[in-house]
């Protein structure tokens, strides 16, 4: 009976109920987006970092992977040292660089990764084959489109280019063997992969035995922190980053985002709460005589409160469900804008949908809906019956 009474009371002022529900939906959408944003970027980074099973990364001291152009020397010796540790199953050295391909009157410039194709964790092969030979190169779709190259084509590739003199350094003819998708690649970024030795040789004597990054797989997750300490002791002049420490670093860099999300999320929740409270207060004040008569007839104070709280819950849940859809649509749209930021891996999601986050925001809103109905209904249910009826009759 309370359920149908609450429902019919809301239907009695259909337009007002609809507008309030829409208002709550907007607040819910904003809250959901903020919750998704506060946790999404971190979780997305975690998924990206763990997607290929590497738990440790070694970068030049004081830097994050590919944060700068700095490199680590004596790659061969470091690889040998690392492979000698029985707790390390895989070592993948990566050298980052830039290559230039003259095509007619223009020059296509692309990022290049020197990798060991057998253990690499930077790309997924879409078609063709890995760059297994010293003169092989694999490129992503943006690279193949920009160069117009097809599988089997030979490209003149240089690692250095002087735009004033239009001269190239470190030139080499490379055959396109594969079409790949780079896991850490940014949107619209031209990128290629070739053997580590090939890119090192193209860089000349300065980069003969250099790497920008080592990615390491440990035998067990439990050994990661021990290995991190061991590498610090045995490989001087490097930063050793575990997935967890990288996430700590990400957290520090994203603290601004989280604070923003927290503030905006709190504001959304408060706006939703105020909206429902205002509506409930107006609705209760309009129905003082009905509520008082119900009390006179013997309806308990608790049941009057329950019925009005139910109305608040209906509006809140309706708004929250609509807000869930609205929030997902806006998150998707905003994500498409933010993900195209230059330099950010395209696989990173700013707004990652997590059921827990969705339930949390729905739960918070429902609680606020309950809280919003309690005060006005309790106040109305506690009015002195005889006096209120007399005043209502006079009014």
């Amino acid at each position: 009976m309370r359920f149908s009474l609450a429902w019919s009371s809301l239907r009695r002022h259909g337009t007002r109920t609809l507008l309030a529900t829409l208002g709550v939906a907007v607040a819910a959408a904003m809250l959901l987006d903020m919750v998704m944003m506060s946790t999404g970027l971190r979780e997305s980074f975690r998924e990206l970092l763990t997607s290929r099973g590497f738990q440790l990364r070694i970068a030049p001291k004081g830097t994050l992977p590919f944060d700068t152009d700095a490199t680590i020397e004596n790659t061969s010796a470091i690889v040998a040292t690392l492979r000698a540790n029985p707790n390390i199953t895989t070592v993948s050295a990566v050298l980052g660089g830039t290559i230039h391909i003259p095509i007619g009157n223009r020059v296509v410039t692309s990022a290049a990764l020197g990798i060991d194709p057998k253990v690499q964790g930077d790309y997924e092969l879409i078609s063709g084959r890995d760059p297994l030979g010293p003169n092989d190169i694999a490129g992503n779709d943006d690279f193949l489109k920009a160069t117009g190259a097809k599988m089997g084509d030979t490209l003149d590739v240089a690692s250095g280019y002087d735009p004033q003199l239009r001269t190239y350094a470190g030139s080499r003819k490379l055959v396109v063997t594969g079409r790949v998708r780079f896991i850490y690649g940014a949107a619209n970024q031209l990128a290629t992969a070739m053997q580590l030795a090939t890119l090192q040789e193209m860089g000349g004597s300065d980069r003969k035995d250099d790497a920008s990054l080592f990615m390491i797989k440990a035998r067990n997750d439990s050994e990661v922190e021990g290995l991190r300490t061991w590498i610090w002791r045995n490989v001087p002049g490097v930063s050793v980053i575990s997935t967890e420490s990288a996430l700590v670093e990400v957290d520090q860099r994203l603290s601004y985002f989280r604070q923003l999300a927290l503030i905006l999320g709190s504001v959304s929740l408060f706006v939703g709460f105020l909206l429902v409270t205002t509506l409930m207060t107006v609705s209760v004040n309009e129905r003082i005589s009905e509520i008082t008569v119900m009390r006179a007839l013997g309806v308990s104070r608790a049941h009057v409160v329950q019925q009005i709280v139910l109305e608040g819950v209906f509006i809140t849940i309706g708004g929250a469900i609509a807000g869930l859809g609205l929030g997902l649509v806006t998150a998707r749209y905003l994500n498409s804008i933010l993900s195209s930021f230059p330099g950010l891996p395209v696989a990173i999601d700013f707004f990652l949908f997590q059921p827990r986050a969705a339930w949390m925001s729905l739960g918070l809103l429902s609680l606020s809906g309950i809280a919003a109905g309690v005060y006005p209904s309790y106040r109305a249910a506690s009015l002195p019956i005889a006096t209120t009826l007399r005043q209502e009759a006079i009014a």
């Binding site: 009976m1 149908s4 009474l5 019919s8 007839l297 013997g298 309806v299 104070r301 002195p384 005889a386």
Partner: protein, 223 residues
């Protein structure tokens, strides 16, 4: 057997520094099956007395017992439960729930009393037939005339088989013809065993009662 016993019942109201004695100490009994009209000029304390009998107000001093149960001094929860089981209210302005149908309005007190859906539906239909509104059970108050609304309110008041039916100016909002129908309905109810206490200015309604209690200045002057 007395269904209502009031002893030295008084009710004062504070209006700022002023103290108004609405009821100055009234004592009376009403027997089971009686039909009593409380009459008197405006402001004589009729409605105040009805509110105290109906346990929607507390006396400043004195006591009220309904079927031997003292009403004054009970907790809000117990008083509410007492009203639900023992008192039927009929108001001048009907006060039906506008979003509920006639049948749902009659079901409301039964639902609160914990009756099952089928049982309360059957009883609500039976009561609506009794007040000659069986054909209007699915109509909302806005679709009913004033007299019909008051009859639904009477059916609602009878829902939990109360010890007494209290009516405050039940014909006050109705025209003479519809008022006469309500007076006839009260007569029928009393004949069928319901104890009725009605506060009214309506002479016809007062004359239909078996007993009249005349009030003036917060006191019973006759009856």
């Amino acid at each position: 057997m007395n269904v209502v016993e009031a002893k030295d019942l008084a009710r004062d109201y504070e209006f700022g520094a002023e103290r108004v004695h609405a009821l100055r100490g009234v004592t009376f009994e009403i027997s089971e099956g009686d039909y009593v009209a409380i009459v008197g000029p405006s402001g004589c304390g009729k409605s105040t007395l009805l509110n105290l009998l109906g346990a929607i107000d507390q006396p400043t001093h004195g006591s009220v017992s309904i079927r031997g149960n003292p009403v004054a001094g009970m907790s809000d929860r117990k008083t509410t439960e007492f009203r639900l089981r023992n008192i039927g209210f009929v108001f001048q302005r009907f006060y039906l729930m506008p979003t509920l149908t006639a049948r749902e309005n009659v079901e409301l007190p039964m639902s609160e009393a914990g009756l099952g859906k089928a049982e309360r539906g059957d009883r609500a239909r039976e009561l609506l037939k009794y007040v000659k509104l069986g054909h209007r059970e699915k109509h909302r108050p806005s679709e009913l005339s004033g007299g019909e609304q008051q009859r639904v309110a009477i059916a609602r008041a009878l829902a939990n088989k109360p010890a007494i039916l209290l009516a405050d100016e039940p014909t006050g909002e109705l025209d003479a013809r519809t008022g006469a129908e309500i007076i006839a309905l009260f007569g029928q109810l009393n004949t069928d065993g319901t104890t009725i206490i009605v506060v009214t200015h309506d002479e016809e309604l007062a004359n239909a009662a078996r007993r009249k209690i005349h009030m003036r200045d917060g006191l019973i002057v006759d009856g």
